[in-house]
């Protein structure tokens, strides 16, 4: 049994019991994604109709590969944070809510690993 008061336990943490960590990470990734996505979308437009060799050559440029991996990290982190909130809001069966949030977080990690692998494969194959 804790001797701390209820107020002392929750102060600064809020109902989610994690303080502003989720909120902050959502905004940090959002800010990072503004320039990254504008760059990515412009690059995709330039690659419209390009054959595979051209796309490979672009991804294989070292700074492009690095920025793409960073972008994928920010995209999947931001996505799983956002989907978590949506699931928390609309799923009211506790086990289903927890299970679906877990699946979203696992999927985000697998998809990030897969995209980083594909980028590195292209980058190292030249």
């Amino acid at each position: 049994m804790s001797l701390r008061t209820d107020l002392g336990r929750v102060r600064g943490l809020g109902s989610a019991k994690e303080g502003a960590a989720h909120w902050w990470a959502q905004r940090l990734t959002a800010v990072a994604l503004i320039p990254l996505l504008l760059w990515f979308v412009s690059s995709m437009i330039c690659l419209v109709g390009a054959d595979q060799a051209v796309a490979r050559a672009w991804i294989a440029i070292p700074w492009v590969a690095v920025l793409l991996i960073v972008m994928c990290g920010a995209v999947f982190h931001h996505t799983q944070l956002g989907l978590q909130v949506v699931l928390e809001d609309y799923i009211h069966t506790e086990w289903l809510k927890i299970t679906s949030i877990m699946l979203v977080k696992f999927a985000a990690i697998v998809l990030f690993a897969a995209s980083a692998f594909a980028i590195l494969k292209i980058a190292f194959a030249g």
Binding site: L37, L38, I45, Q52, F76, T79, G82, L111, A114
Partner: protein, 131 residues
Amino acid sequence: MSTGQRPISPHLQVYKPEFTSGLSIFHRITGVGLAAGTLLLVCWLFTVAGDGGAYGAMQAFWGSIVGRLLLLGWSFALFYHLCNGIRYLFWSAGKGFELATAQKSAMAVIVVSLALTLAAWIWGYASMGKL
């Protein structure tokens, strides 16, 4: 501490739908749509990394009418989520909460995201030499 009998916050349906609340809901819808779109990003990376056949098939699909409509939806969703997200970042900094300002910025988000989508597609067709 008993939490069982507390009043809970009324849900969406008790409020009158407003222009600004519509944007908020659309932010969420586009977010979920873009989450599905991340699968496309991974597919694209794998077809580029792969040995050729899949890349051609992917290119052919995105060139089709269905592919183009999907890309149109995704590009608008991305620009909308980006613009409205920037609006939310200002709110996070405590700025732009006044009703008149929030309504003006809402209109700006719609206009700018439509303009960016249009510009992106014009640029895309121009870079293919089809304009």
